[in-house]
Assembly symmetry: C2
């Protein structure tokens, strides 16, 4: 949403919409599978994760949502959610009633476009995650690159360092890897020298080397010009 290309006038118009603010505490669902969202959601603060639960009970994250990300676009077509959205940290959420949605999309052309844009990026990330199922270490590196860029875009990276407020088990559920193996891959990455991975944060020293290692190319995120992340 906070994307270049929309006239300032329209950005203001979006801000003036009747958003309702709500906070969700860690480990609670923001949106549950099977329900029909009655609002469009916008994450203001905190991290959330889209997930499904498998037949045997294991959880699979299919995407992380950072501040500025949307969810519940399903409201556009009045379709049930096919996955749940969990607050990975305490979150601050803005809601826009679905009833407003149609009207807004009509009157603000660039709003409709922004929704499409957001959805296409989400889809691009899903595709990347599918392609990354080659080896766990590179997948992990690639995920951290993705998060680094996305955090950078919203100005949350300082000196290459950013907050990673999720557990290794969560990361494992995003890579389809056990917590044990996730931990081993984390340790390998630490030894690589490209980055530091501590409790709750990541600091990248050698962006070039890291990108090369996991073949990361941020273009799929369609971010246009990414601001400097220093």
């Amino acid at each position: 949403m906070r994307r270049a290309g929309a006239p300032a006038r329209e950005v203001a118009a979006v801000a003036d919409l009747p958003w309702a603010i709500r906070s969700v505490s860690r480990n609670r669902d923001i949106l549950s599978i099977g329900s029909r969202p009655t609002s469009l959601f916008l994450v203001l603060e905190g991290w959330a994760g889209r997930y499904n639960v498998r037949r045997e009970g294991s959880r699979r994250f299919t995407g992380f949502m950072l501040p500025g990300d949307l969810c519940g676009i399903h409201a556009v077509t009045k379709v049930d959610m096919d996955h749940s959205v969990l607050a990975l940290t305490n979150c601050l959420i803005a809601e826009l009633p679905a009833t407003q949605l149609d009207r807004v999309a009509q009157s603000l052309p660039s709003f409709a476009k922004a929704l499409w844009h957001a959805k296409l990026i989400e889809e691009a990330i899903l595709r990347k995650w599918l392609c990354n199922s080659e080896d766990a270490q590179r997948s992990l590196a690639h995920l951290l690159c993705e998060l680094h860029v996305r955090m950078s875009v919203i100005g949350q990276v300082n000196q290459g360092s950013f907050a990673l407020p999720i557990t290794q088990a969560d990361i494992g559920d995003a890579l389809s890897v056990t917590p044990v193996h996730t931990n081993r891959m984390v340790q390998k990455l630490r030894r690589s020298g490209w980055m530091e991975i501590g409790r709750g944060f990541v600091k990248i020293f050698d962006v070039e080397g890291l990108y090369r290692y996991c073949a990361f190319n941020p273009s799929y995120l369609h971010l246009g010009m990414v601001k400097g992340s220093s």
Copy 2:
């Protein structure tokens, strides 16, 4: 696109749009990664597949397109393709110039909705594929269930049997599994008794059993009422 819910009048209006018909022969790209699609595509006949190529050269399908499926919705937002689309068989394609797209989406509200609906289904399939990365045999079974339902919806299933015009290697590239292992899983499924898998076709005997085995639930495909598949 051929979905319930749109008034017959509007369906006719869509059919009257200036579609251009074009045929693409097997193993040729319909749309290539990095390009900016100038049209919206609709598959009329044949099968196509979305794919990316990995760092080390292997191919990964991220979805199959059957007759009635759309591609190139990227044209809506003038964004470059982040994946390619390959004709898996000889295909017949209908194209709608992107220049028409904005206008049509405005004048036919249900057309815009149909695009959203199609995209959300595509996304649901992507998520399912991500979740299925547990064991190859169930993944294969689940994929065949998906294809069975989708073929059924477009009336291409007879007596539980439908055409599967792709190779085991292609299927492997969709499951992230080698051709050798794909073959072994195919053989296991044959021995299961739920289905017959021959060259170029699949015939399902025991839908219930198969569904139960791979925990397939067609609801994520958001198909509304599926016509009988007999």
